[in-house]
Structures are given as structure tokens and as C-alpha cells.
């Protein structure tokens, strides 16, 4: 199951972090997301490591930590989406599909004329959309 999703701005500032665990591990998840940025940078800066998926928005598995898997996605506008999950076997297709829908939601959120670029995303609609996407994660492999 997905424990946390995050949007991180192009200056590596958190724009949106939402954890979906009842446990109070917000801090830990923040740390995990925060660290994942290092990996994202690494992936992007020396693409030789990222190999075939050169410049693809989907960065794949960033790193496993404890019992979490951290996936990354980097938009063309240098905005990062981070997905933290506890699932053991994650289908790549699912993650891609998730990020695609998440991205759509994000784009609509920043299309709100009152949203200030680079500021936290406070939109209620966005939050709702995200939670539905998260809930449906893995269930619908229908791309």
C-alpha cells in the first residue's frame, strides 16, 4: 500500500506531502522523501546510471529504505513526485499509471489562478483526487 506521496518543487522545496498511514510517522516519511531527492539528483545529473530511461519523466525505483520502496517522477518543469510504498512486488506499470494520473491532478491544481507557483498546494480538490488515486493504486492496471 502507498504510505506517502509528495510533490517537491524545482528548488527541492516540499509543495505537498501526504502520508496515508494511521501511524504517526510523518517525520520519518518527510526524511525519506527528503533523502530521495539526493537520489533524484544523482539520477538526473549522471544519466549513465539511469541508462535506457534517459530523460524519461518516470525515474523508477529510487531506493529501498527499511521496508519502504521509494519511486520517483520528474516532470519537464523540474517538479518531483515521490511515491513511498510498502508493497513488496510493485508492478512498474502500476507505478507509471499512478504517476500519470497524479501528474494530471497536479497540473489541474496549479492551473488554479490563485495558486502561486512554488508555494504549497493547499487545494482541497487536489487532496481528494490524490487520495482516490492512491486508493485505486494497483487495483486498476488499466492504463
Amino acid at each position: 500500500m502507498i504510505v506517502c506521496v509528495a510533490v517537491v518543487g524545482h528548488q527541492n522545496n516540499p509543495l505537498y506531502i501526504q502520508s496515508f498511514t494511521e501511524a504517526d510517522d510523518a517525520l520519518k516519511l518527510h526524511h525519506i522523501v527528503h533523502c530521495s531527492l539526493d537520489v533524484v539528483d544523482e539520477r538526473v545529473n549522471n544519466p549513465k546510471k539511469s541508462g535506457p530511461l534517459l530523460n524519461e519523466t518516470f525515474l523508477g525505483l529510487l531506493y529501498p529504505i527499511e521496508n519502504f520502496k521509494v519511486y520517483g517522477y520528474l516532470t519537464n518543469t523540474k517538479v518531483k513526485f515521490i511515491l513511498v510504498t510498502t508493497d513488496l512486488d510493485v508492478k512498474d506499470a502500476d507505478v507509471r499509471n499512478f504517476f500519470r494520473r497524479f501528474h494530471a491532478a497536479y497540473v489541474d491544481a496549479v492551473s488554479n489562478p490563485f495558486h502561486v507557483p512554488g508555494k504549497k498546494i493547499t487545494s482541497r480538490t487536489f487532496a481528494e483526487r490524490v487520495s482516490t488515486i492512491v486508493k485505486s493504486f494497483g487495483l486498476t492496471s488499466a492504463v
Partner: protein
């Protein structure tokens, strides 16, 4: 890549993996060496590492090479065993703690800023205790029996010259049952190279005895294996060694002074030579020798195909060997052990190829035998060998990984080894700049020992920082992790240190959760160390944590407050984040020459006031009075920009406080911080103020807040609920002249900590009251005032002004003014923003009661309107000269209020007055009053006027009244026409119009009047027009018939402003009539929220044009029915047409008579297509006003009658007549028709074309047309056949 030997790992290996020499000594030997504060072993140690020993060696395959760097490790026999873990741990702990203390004390007070150069360098010279720690951890794993390089290669037997029976001592020194387990346990070959050393202490006397014994030794043990060492040769005073060789080898450098005080240079050289010989002549050759032998054996038994097979078979054979975790026990004589020994010896003599080949050989065996520990050990060595050979990193890492994981699998057994292996591995990775990997290994070797793992995590974090590109976030994360560990085994200072470093990563980032956590804990920990000030500083960072959960917020706040309490003093800090001050909300309200009757008045836009006061203020007046420039002189140039306030009058500041938290916070003692300086010389005091603030704001502030002799500030306490925002008004009242500047605001958070906020540092939006006008206002000026000595200030209010009223409501109000000061004021003037709503009354009105005063008095000649012309025009109203306002009894003046039109209006009035004494800077002031009134729609009145056809200049008026209210019911009381030349009369008695005398909510009625132009009437002399009935009571005579005098103030004034509002210019138009409808509200029991229902309401309709068909009105006059005998002849009928020109210009009128009746309705009058029947909705804006749709009637009539057939007739006489009509005059012209058969005829088939000769008439307005065409109106004549 650099030479492996020079890398840290290389160094470490050359240190650690070197031949071990076991030392056995007699007590007396120790005694004599202890004189130098050294054990015998320590005495020798410094001379056991050789940087250039230069010994020729041969490899197993007879390749000659030379050894340069060489080292021996000396151990007492008792120490040749696995070290005690507990002791080691204790020592580590102690070391770390000391390091903690040391580093902590060096900590810079501010958070270290991170830059890579600095960072990496910091790591390059890692805290020495790291290295020491790692070394210890490596050592802990030494003297294991599964590896051979810790096995002693030689043994030194030391006997003192004054031991008795030295020879025997030598013998029983080395008796097997005292030897360490390694040797007699069978793990290694017990008969190792022995060296017999006779130690002579020169202080015990001359060396004869020694030499005697020595010769004896040589005979017994053989010459080569014996040597004599004389020490303590300096008999006299102890000597200081400037470079003390032992110091570096002692654990604590403190007592390194006295070391070796009795050893003179000869002694030292002697020791040097001894060790040199020992290693070069004995140990190395001996090892070399051993290598050769072993190699031969190994190659004999294991090299070559046959041996391989044999070996395999054999191993398969002893498959059933006991399967203990470290595999079967291998005797030193066993081939496996020998191969291992061979490998290790080769390694120690730098013959890495040989070493590697043998390790390879043996590792497979161990693997097959499942001798995992040994296997791991060999893998480990292979890895290191690869490294030293600097070939195939892959292999090297693979081996290390392999070894490590195998050790780990072994659990507790392999733990120390795992750690050691890990450390070596890490060093290997670091040597190759694979810091990231190194970090992960660190992560893997932090075992369950918390302290240990803390250190490892910290080292890991450094690795993350060092890798390229550096991973600062992981660096931070691991620092935090290690910090937690440190905390767990309460190494608080380390914890703080790591957390602080972590801060450097987070600095300036918006990762608030992490940031809060770190700051908070640093704070807590500092507090636990009793360093409260720092603690507070850190905790303050996170107070406004709106993003945190309620619980967390409570935790933070309570902890913070406790800490503050612990400091024991009232903390005073700038930029305390609780509560948040909304800078943009700050608003300064002060009164210089402007004074405000109410707060609401202060909120009105300054521009509005200015426009209102324009005419009153002398500064605006064109006439320059002599004291005007005096005023400008009095205010110094530099102050002209800064505000003026009056001593004794409060300057108010509105500030918005917001509580970002979900928990309530009590705020107390909120007050302004001000500075008052007696001098009006701004510039200098500015200087010292600014630099004062620079050096230390706080003290400056405290000092400010303390002095309150020259001014007094108000203090406010309040409590902010969760997420609450409150606007607080603070005030400062200067008591003496000078300059006052408001520096900031101070408050106390829940009674413990005092926060300051400095206004001038933060630049607020300038929405100071007068800011809008003076856009060049700089914030500093906004808070700076020039205090002048106190002057009178009027207080004023308007009595019983309703908050809500119905449109048309007319009321009498009273303006009340007070002047508490004892100075007189003069030249009062007043100006009102909405004269349509508010006009100034006459003083006598106050006495007379309302509404009676409005009614007509019999004797009163109604020309009050002219009596006070000042009111008629909406200019400034001057109060009479003699008005003096003083003391406690108020000055009263009547005002009239009339709700002109529905909507919310804000009434502004400004009262100007001048100050009696001349010396003051401010000579005049204005009192600004402001009131909001909500006006509800009440009656909706509209008129329609159409010319009557009965008589010239007589009109039919239709009045429509709709009650727009929801509940009120009104009594339509009186209708009056303004002016004196319109007479109105009812067509039907009032009670038929209003059966129940009142107009219910929502009800609409309409009634008709006739309207006569009395002027015309008087000109015609048929009626004596003594007194014109311009007022008309609409209630039955029964009720009290007091008639409201609409030509009297205030009604006439209001009417005047109404008509002005409609922007009609020409008053003199005689064809327009104005109506005033007076109505009263019946005291209805169901009161509609209104406090007091209106008792008199007036509705005004202005400039209703009677001249609907243009200036020309006419009347056809003649018989209506007549008899005629058509059999005799056709009938001629004579008619008269009266024409009247109501315009100011002569008119030329042409009457065209049209015979064909069919062409009846070609012509249309300009407005004929307006749908009759609907009228305007209540206007919401003053400008849009009811337009009365005139001659609707005519059209209706036309429609009505257009059906019936018209039988032809002809106009006799000319078909067109031309007439001249003088202004305001009437003529009459004859008309004649011929009718041929009896019937009813409509004589409307004629057209009047009229034209005004434009001369004479001011053609200013376009509303009046210059020429036109009028269709004749219906005139029916019936002709009967006379019998």
C-alpha cells in the same frame, strides 16, 4: 590511482598486519625499566618500526627484493589472546565521552554553514577519535586462531643481570604451561624462534657480573640467540629528551615527560641496534626460511593435477567431520594451517602474489569443509591482497563483501571480525572515492551496540557528504539518526553536535517538519544541559508551527515556556513568532488639525474629507490671510514631512495579531514602544537612535519602554483562541511637546516571555490614514510625530439620527458640540456631504416641537426660503459669530434629516473651528463626524400629466403611489405643488380614493387631479385668483387638518436639493410643475424592525413637464351637437381654435386641415410608442429619476376610439393657416367645416406645425425641441337632422 601502500588502508595494514613478537620478562627487568616510567615492552616498542631497514629478501621463487618499511608488534605473553570485550567497550566509551566534551566546547555558537571544501577538509582530518575508535575495533578482533598473522613469529626472553640463577630463569620463563593458549592449544607451532636477552641496569653497579652471565648464556643457548642490553646508564640527574620517542606510544600524553629519564643516548642506540639486529638478522630471515619450507611442502602435496584430485577425494572422504560453526579443528601441522601461515607470512613480507595464490588455494578447501570463519578470514585477506596488488577491484570488493557477509552469518562469533572486515572494506572503498558505498557499509556494521552504531552512522553521514555529487540530504538524515543513537546512550553533547550539523543542511529550506524536529530536540538537549539561553533560541525557531498537529504544538509551546521559566529571568526577544503580527494591517490614526468624532470617521478615505473641507480650510482658500504663512513658518522644514500630534491627545495604532496555532495563547501587556525626545531637532536624535538599534535593539527597547514620563501608553491584555485573529488598538499619549516616534510594539506571551516587534525594520504598506494622499510617505515618517502643545478639541455628535429609515422620512436632529478644554474656539463652519439627506436648521426650530413646526401658520408669510439663502446653496454653513462653545454644557444646533432615496449611505460632516490663542502651530481644526444610515424603499410615487381638453392650461394629473414596504402602512396625507402658480384640485373626494385612509404594504393606488396654471388664469379675468390652493389634503376633513408648509424650511430646502440632484438647470420654465407628497406612517402595531416609524415623509417630484406636445397648446371650441336640416342645404359649422404659446419665444404655427379622414394617424408625437401602463422601478441611484410618461392618455384615447367609422366632411376655408404667437400669449383663429349628412364627426384630422423663432430663447438645452408637429385631438361633433 596512488600506491596502495600510501593509502590510509595501506598504512593501516602495514601497521596491523605485521609479525608479532612475544615478550617474556622477569620482574626485576620490569623494575629497572619502570624506573623510566615504562614497562619493558614499552621500552622497546618505539624501536620496533623501521622506515628503512633495507633487508634483502627472496621470494619463494627466488626473486630477490628488498624490504624497506618493517614493523614488529610486541606483546607480553599474557596479552597474546583475544582481548576482553568489556574492557575494550569501556575504553571506547570513555574515549568518545572525552571527545564529546572536547569537541562540544569548541562548538561555534552559530550553526555551521556547510560548504564542500570545508566539509571535506573537516573529514580529511577526521576527529582523531574516529581513527582511534576504528583501530580499537580492529584490535578487538585480534589473536583469533583462525588466522595466522597474529601468531607470534618470535619470542624475547628478558632476564635481569641481578636475578640469581639467570640461566634457569631463562629456562623456566619459557615453560609451556605458562604459555598462551594459542601456542599450547595447538593452533600454532609452539617452538618458535627464541631470543635470550640479558638486561643490565647500570645503576646496580658495573657490568662485570652481567658479562660473566652473558658468556655463560652464550655457551648454553648458543651465541647467535643471545644478546646483552645495558640500560639506565645516566647515573646522574635525569635527562630530558627533546624528542621523546615514547610519548607517541602512550595512551595519555599527560605523563610523557619523565619517560626514559635514565636512558642516555648510548642506551637508546643499544636498544635500536638490538631490535634492528633482531628483525634483520633473525626474524626476517627466519620467516623467509619458513616461507620456503612451507612452500615446498604445499607444492609437494597440493600443486599439480594429481594432488588436486587426491585432495578432493580426501576432502570428500572426511565429509562427516564435526560441523562446528568454525569448521573442523585444524592442527598447526595440518596442511590447511600451513597454507594459511604461508599466506600470512608472505603477506607480511609483501610477497603478495604468493600470499594470494595460497589464500586462493586454501579458501576453496575451507569452503568445502564449511569452515566458515576461516573461509571468511581467508576471503578477507584475499580482498586486502588484491588491494595491495592494486588489481581487479571487482575481485577485491567481491572478497570483502563475501567475507563480511560470511562473518555476519556467523552471528556473535564473527561479530568483531565482521566489524574489522567492514572497516577495512570501507577504507578500501574510500581509497577509491566510492564514498556512497562506504556509507552503506558503515550502515551495515553498526551492530546492536548503540554507541557503536551512533559513531558508525556519523561516519556514514560524512561519507555522504564527500561523495560526488555530495548527498547533503542523506548526510543530514544520517546525522539525525546518529544523533538519536547518541542521545539513547546519553552522549547528549554528541547528539547536539550532530543535530546542529544537520541543521546546516536544512537551513533555509522549507522542510518544516524535519526542521522543527531538529530544532526542538537541540533545544531540549541544551536545556537538559542547563544551557537555557541557547535552548530558548532554538525553540523559538519553531513556535509558529501551524503545520504541526495540535498535540505537537502544545508540546512545543509548553516545553518552550518551561525552558524560559528555567532561565529564571524574563526573556526579551525580538521577532518572537507568537503571535504573528500582520504588518500590512498596521494603521496609524492620529489627529492633527483633523479630529474624528468616531472611529468610523477615521476610516473614511482622506480624499473624501478633503473634497468636503476644501472650501472651509483656509489653506485651500485663495484669499491668503496673514496668519496662513505664519503657520507654514512655524513648522520647521524637516518636520513638514513628519506628522503633527497634540500633547494630551492619543495617537492610536491598529495592529492585527494572529495566532497561527490551534491552541489558545494568552497575550498580556501589549503596548507600544515609543521614544520621546524633548528637542524638535530631528536629525541628530535620528542618528543616535539608529545606531542604538544597530548595536542592541533589546536593551534599547527596554530602556524605551521603561521611560514613560513624557508620554503614556495603553496596555492591552487578550487571549487568542486557536487560529484566531484580532485587531487591537493601542495608543500612546504624549504629555509634553517634542518629537514622538513609535518604534514598535511589545507584548508578553503567557506571562513568561516578552516579544518585541520593530516597526521601522519591517516596512509596512502605507495605509496610514493620510497615507493615500501623500504617497511619498516613508514608513519612518509614518511613525514619527511632532508633538505640539495642547489645543482645544471639539467633541461632537448628532442626536437621534436613525440607523434605519424609510425613504422620504423627515426628521429633526440635533447637532451637539462640546469643548472640554478651557480655551475658546471661534469661526465655526460646517459642511455636509449629502445635503439631500441632511440640512442645517434654524435655532428656533429646536424650541418648536416636531412636526408641528412644519405646518403653515396663518400669519407666516412663506418666504423663509429666501430668509436663509446660505442654506439654499450647498456651500459652507457659517455658525453665527457669537457662538461660543466652552465648559461642560453642550452647544446645540438643529439639523434636518430626510431620507432622500433608498440604499446605504454614509453621511459625512465636517466642522471647522479656529483656536483662540495665536501662539499655537495649529490655528484651526476640523471635527469630522460620520454616520451610516440604511434607507429602505417606502412609497414609490409617479405622476403623469396630460392636457385637459376642456380648458386651456388645464391639465389632468394622475398620481400613482405604490407602497414598497413589506409591513409598514402609510397614510398619504397631502399633495402640494411647489411655487405659487399651480393650483391643484381633487377630482374625487379623498375618502373615495383611500377608503381605509391608508396604504397597506404592497398596495398601490392611483388618483387624479386637475392642475391649473394660475398665472394664466389671472391673466384671464374670469376668476378672481386671490389665494391659490397649491396644497391639497388627501385625508378626509374630519381628521386634524394641519397643512404642511412645503414652501418653508426645511421642506423647501430639501426640495431644492432634490431638484438640483435631477440636474435641471432652468428654473424659470413655466411649463414644469413640482409636486411634494407628504405622507405619514400610521402607528402600525406590527413594527418592522425600525426603532421609531417615520411620522412625516415627503416625496418630491420635480420638473414634470406639462408641455407634452411642445410649447404650443390649443383648444378647439365650438358646439358639440346641433340640428340642421340637410334637405335644405349642407351644414356649415363655425369653430374657434385657441392657441397658447407657453414658450419664451415667438412661435409660428401653421394649421393644416386634411380632408381625407383615412389619413388619420400618420403623424406621431415623439414619444408615442412608449408602452403605457408600466412605470419606473424605484431608482437606486440619485441620478436616475422618475420620468413621467406624458400624454399616455391621449394615445389611449386614440386607440379606444379609432374603431368607429368616420363619415367624410370638409374643411372649408384655406387648407392651411399661418399664425404668429407672441411668447406667453394666446390667439384664437376661426375654423369652419361643412357637413353633408347627419352623424358624428371626429374633427381630429388636422395638424399643427409649429416652429419657434430661436432668437430670444436661450437655446442652451437640447431637451426642448425647436419645431414640431401636432396631430389634432379628437373633437366630436354630432349633427342631427332637424325635423
Amino acid at each position: 590511482m596512488m600506491d596502495p601502500a600510501t593509502t590510509p588502508l595501506g598504512q593501516m595494514l602495514l601497521e596491523e598486519i605485521t609479525p608479532v613478537v612475544m615478550v617474556l620478562s622477569t620482574p626485576s627487568v620490569e623494575d629497572s625499566s619502570l624506573k623510566n616510567g615504562l614497562s619493558f615492552l614499552h621500552l622497546l616498542t618505539p624501536f620496533c618500526s623501521f622506515n628503512n631497514i633495507d633487508v634483502p629478501v627472496r621470494t619463494a621463487s627466488d626473486q630477490p627484493y628488498r624490504l624497506h618499511k618493517f614493523k614488529l608488534r610486541l606483546f607480553y605473553a599474557s596479552d597474546v589472546r583475544r582481548p576482553d570485550l568489556k574492557v575494550a567497550k569501556e575504553r571506547l566509551k570513555q574515549v568518545i565521552t572525552e571527545a564529546g566534551e572536547k569537541v562540544f566546547s569548541e562548538l561555534a555558537s552559530d550553526v555551521p554553514h556547510i560548504d564542500h571544501e570545508h566539509a571535506s577538509s573537516e573529514y580529511r582530518n577526521t576527529p582523531s577519535w574516529f581513527q582511534f575508535l576504528n583501530k580499537e575495533l580492529v584490535r578487538v578482533a585480534s589473536f583469533s586462531d583462525h588466522e595466522a598473522f597474529d601468531h607470534p613469529v618470535a619470542c624475547i626472553l628478558a632476564v635481569s643481570s641481578n636475578d640469581e640463577g639467570p640461566i634457569n630463569r631463562f629456562v623456566d620463563l619459557y615453560n609451556s604451561n605458562k604459555l598462551p593458549s594459542l601456542l599450547n592449544g595447538g593452533a600454532m607451532d609452539p617452538n618458535i624462534l627464541k631470543h635470550y636477552l640479558l638486561v643490565h641496569d647500570n645503576q646496580d653497579g658495573p657490568a662485570e657480573r652481567a658479562s660473566k652471565i652473558f658468556t655463560e648464556m652464550r655457551s648454553t643457548f648458543g651465541t647467535s640467540d643471545c644478546s646483552l642490553l645495558c640500560i639506565n646508564s645516566s647515573v646522574d640527574a635525569p635527562i630530558k629528551h627533546q624528542v621523546n620517542p615514547w610519548a607517541s606510544h602512550m595512551s595519555d600524553a599527560s605523563l610523557s615527560q619523565g619517560l626514559g629519564c635514565f636512558l642516555n643516548t648510548d642506551d637508546i642506540n643499544e636498544i635500536k641496534n638490538l631490535m634492528q639486529n633482531l628483525s634483520s638478522k633473525y626474524i626476517i630471515p627466519n620467516m623467509e626460511q619458513k616461507i620456503r619450507e612451507l612452500n615446498q611442502q604445499v607444492s609437494a602435496t597440493r600443486k599439480g593435477f594429481r594432488n588436486q584430485i587426491k585432495n578432493l577425494w580426501w576432502r570428500k572422504g572426511k565429509e562427516d567431520g564435526a560441523d562446528s560453526p568454525n569448521g573442523p579443528m585444524y592442527n598447526y601441522s595440518s596442511i590447511e594451517s600451513q597454507i594459511r601461515v604461508l599466506g600470512d607470512y608472505a603477506f607480511m613480507l609483501r610477497d603478495y602474489e604468493l600470499a594470494l595464490s595460497n589464500y586462493r588455494l586454501i579458501s576453496t578447501d575451507y569452503k568445502i569443509d564449511k569452515a566458515w570463519k576461516r573461509y571468511a578470514g581467508v576471503q578477507e585477506m584475499m580482498g586486502l591482497t588484491y588491494f595491495m596488488l592494486d588489481q581487479s577491484r571487482k575481485e577485491a570488493e567481491y572478497c570483502m563483501e563475501n567475507a563480511f557477509s560470511t562473518y555476519v552469518k556467523l552471528g556473535s562469533l564473527g561479530q568483531q571480525n565482521a566489524t574489522r572486515c567492514g572497516l577495512w572494506w570501507i577504507e578500501m572503498l574510500k581509497a577509491r572515492d566510492q564514498y556512497k558505498e562506504a556509507a552503506t557499509v558503515y550502515f551495515r556494521i553498526c551492530g546492536e551496540d548503540i554507541l557503536h552504531s551512533a559513531v558508525m552512522l556519523e561516519q556514514a553521514s560524512y561519507c555522504y557528504m564527500l561523495c560526488k555529487p555530495s548527498m547533503l540530504r542523506k548526510y543530514g538524515f544520517h546525522l539525525v539518526l546518529s544523533g538519536e543513537q547518541y542521545k539513547k546512550c546519553n552522549q547528549i553533547k554528541h547528539a547536539i553536535r550532530t543535530y546542529r550539523n544537520a541543521l546546516s543542511v536544512l537551513k533555509g529550506s522549507t522542510w518544516s517538519y524535519i526542521n522543527d524536529h531538529v530544532h526542538f530536540h537541540i533545544g531540549q538537549w541544551y536545556a537538559s544541559l542547563g544551557m537555557y539561553d541557547v535552548a530558548v533560541k532554538h525553540m523559538m525557531e519553531i513556535l509558529a508551527c501551524s503545520h504541526q498537529s495540535k498535540a505537537t504544538q502544545e508540546l512545543f509551546l509548553s516545553d518552550f515556556l518551561q525552558t524560559v521559566k528555567k532561565t529564571g529571568r524574563t526573556f526579551e526577544v525580538t521577532k518572537l513568532q507568537l503571535p504573528v503580527i500582520n504588518i500590512s494591517s498596521i494603521k496609524v490614526i492620529f489627529e492633527d488639525y483633523r479630529t474624528f468624532g468616531s472611529p468610523s470617521a477615521a476610516n473614511i478615505r482622506e480624499a473624501l474629507w478633503n473634497s468636503l473641507e476644501e472650501e472651509m480650510l483656509p489653506s485651500f482658500s485663495t484669499a491668503k490671510s496673514n496668519w496662513l504663512e505664519l503657520q507654514s513658518k512655524l513648522i520647521p522644514k524637516k518636520n513638514s514631512q513628519s506628522n503633527v500630534c497634540i500633547a494630551g491627545e492619543a495617537v492610536k495604532v491598529n495592529i492585527e495579531f494572529k495566532n497561527p496555532l490551534q491552541i489558545p495563547i494568552p497575550i498580556s501587556g501589549v503596548a507600544l514602544i515609543c521614544r520621546h525626545s524633548g528637542s524638535t531637532d530631528e536629525a541628530r536624535s535620528d542618528e543616535n537612535q539608529s545606531n542604538m538599534e544597530k548595536n542592541n535593539e533589546i536593551d534599547h527597547f527596554r530602556e524605551m519602554s521603561s521611560d514613560n514620563t513624557s508620554f503614556s501608553v495603553s496596555e492591552v491584555d487578550f487571549s487568542l483562541g486557536g487560529g484566531e485573529t484580532t485587531m487591537v488598538q493601542l495608543s500612546v499619549t504624549p504629555s509634553v511637546e517634542g518629537t514622538l516616534s513609535i518604534l514598535g510594539v511589545r507584548w508578553k506571551l503567557s506571562g513568561t516571555i516578552i516579544g518585541f516587534h520593530n516597526f521601522e525594520s519591517s516596512h509596512p504598506k502605507k495605509n496610514i490614514v493620510k497615507g493615500r494622499r501623500k504617497s511619498n510617505y516613508s514608513p519612518n515618517n509614518m511613525f514619527k510625530f511632532m508633538v505640539i502643545k495642547s489645543i482645544p478639541k471639539l467633541q461632537g455628535s448628532v442626536r437621534h439620527l436613525p440607523g434605519k429609515a424609510y425613504a422620504g422620512d423627515l426628521r429633526q436632529l440635533v447637532l451637539e458640540l462640546r469643548n472640554p478644554s478651557d480655551f475658546p474656539v471661534k469661526n465655526l463652519k460646517m459642511k455636509i456631504s449629502h445635503p439631500r439627506f441632511l440640512t442645517i436648521g434654524n435655532p428656533e426650530h429646536i424650541k418648536s416641537e416636531f412636526p408641528a413646526c412644519l405646518t403653515k401658520k396663518i400669519d407666516s408669510v412663506n418666504n423663509d426660503a429666501q430668509a436663509n439663502p446660505g442654506i439654499m446653496s450647498d456651500t459652507v454653513f457659517m455658525f453665527p459669530e457669537d457662538t461660543s462653545i466652552q465648559g461642560e454644557n453642550p452647544f446645540l444646533w438643529p439639523l434636518w434629516f430626510r431620507a432622500a432615496f433608498p440604499g446605504d449611505i454614509s453621511l459625512c460632516m465636517s466642522i471647522y473651528y479656529e483656536i483662540g490663542d495665536i501662539s499655537s502651530v495649529i490655528r484651526y481644526r476640523t471635527l469630522r463626524l460620520h454616520y451610516n444610515v440604511q434607507i429602505l424603499p417606502s412609497l414609490d410615487v409617479s405622476f403623469q400629466i396630460s392636457p385637459s381638453r376642456m380648458r386651456m392650461q388645464e391639465f389632468l394629473v394622475r398620481l400613482d403611489v405604490v407602497n414598497k414596504t413589506s409591513s409598514e402602512s402609510f397614510q398619504v396625507y397631502q399633495l402640494s405643488s411647489v411655487g405659487k402658480h399651480w393650483e391643484i384640485s381633487l377630482l374625487q373626494p379623498p375618502d373615495t380614493i383611500f377608503p381605509l385612509q391608508s396604504l397597506m404594504a404592497g398596495q398601490a393606488i392611483s388618483c387624479f387631479f386637475t392642475l391649473k396654471n394660475s398665472r394664466l388664469l389671472t391673466s384671464e379675468a374670469n376668476e378672481p385668483a386671490m389665494h391659490v390652493r397649491s396644497d391639497l389634503s388627501l385625508v378626509p376633513q374630519s381628521s386634524d387638518n394641519l397643512v404642511f408648509n412645503i414652501n418653508n424650511a426645511p421642506l423647501i430646502n430639501f426640495h431644492h436639493f432634490e431638484s438640483i440632484a435631477k440636474s435641471y438647470t432652468d428654473q424659470g420654465d413655466l411649463n414644469t410643475v413640482d409636486f411634494v407628497l407628504i405622507s405619514r406612517s400610521l402607528k402600525s402595531d406590527n413594527n418592522s424592525g425600525l426603532s421609531d416609524p417615520p411620522c412625516v415623509m415627503s416625496h418630491h417630484a420635480c420638473h414634470l413637464s406639462t408641455a407634452s406636445t411642445g410649447p404650443i397648446s390649443w383648444l378647439v371650441d365650438g358646439p358639440r351637437t346641433l340640428q340642421h336640416d340637410f334637405s335644405a342645404s349642407f351644414c356649415e359649422i363655425n369653430l374657434k381654435m385657441h392657441l397658447y404659446n407657453s414658450s419664451h419665444a415667438t412661435a409660428i404655427v401653421r394649421i393644416d386641415t386634411l380632408d381625407s379622414a383615412g389619413s388619420g394617424g400618420v403623424v406621431q408625437s415623439p414619444t408615442s410608442d412608449i408602452q403605457a401602463g408600466w412605470h419606473d422601478v424605484t431608482p437606486t441611484t440619485p441620478t436616475s429619476e422618475p420620468k413621467v410618461t406624458s400624454n399616455a392618455f391621449e394615445t389611449q384615447l386614440k386607440k379606444a376610439l379609432s374603431l368607429d367609422s368616420v363619415s367624410p366632411y370638409i374643411w372649408s376655408g384655406s387648407s392651411s393657416t399661418n399664425l404668429h404667437l407672441e411668447p406667453m400669449s394666446s390667439v384664437e383663429t376661426p375654423l369652419q367645416i361643412c357637413v353633408f349628412s347627419p352623424g358624428t364627426y371626429d374633427l381630429s384630422s388636422y395638424v399643427l406645425n409649429w416652429k419657434l423663432s430661436s432668437k430670444g430663447h436661450g437655446g442652451g438645452d437640447e431637451t426642448k425641441q425647436q419645431s414640431g408637429k401636432c396631430q389634432g385631438y379628437k373633437y366630436y361633433i354630432t349633427v342631427l337632422q332637424s325635423s
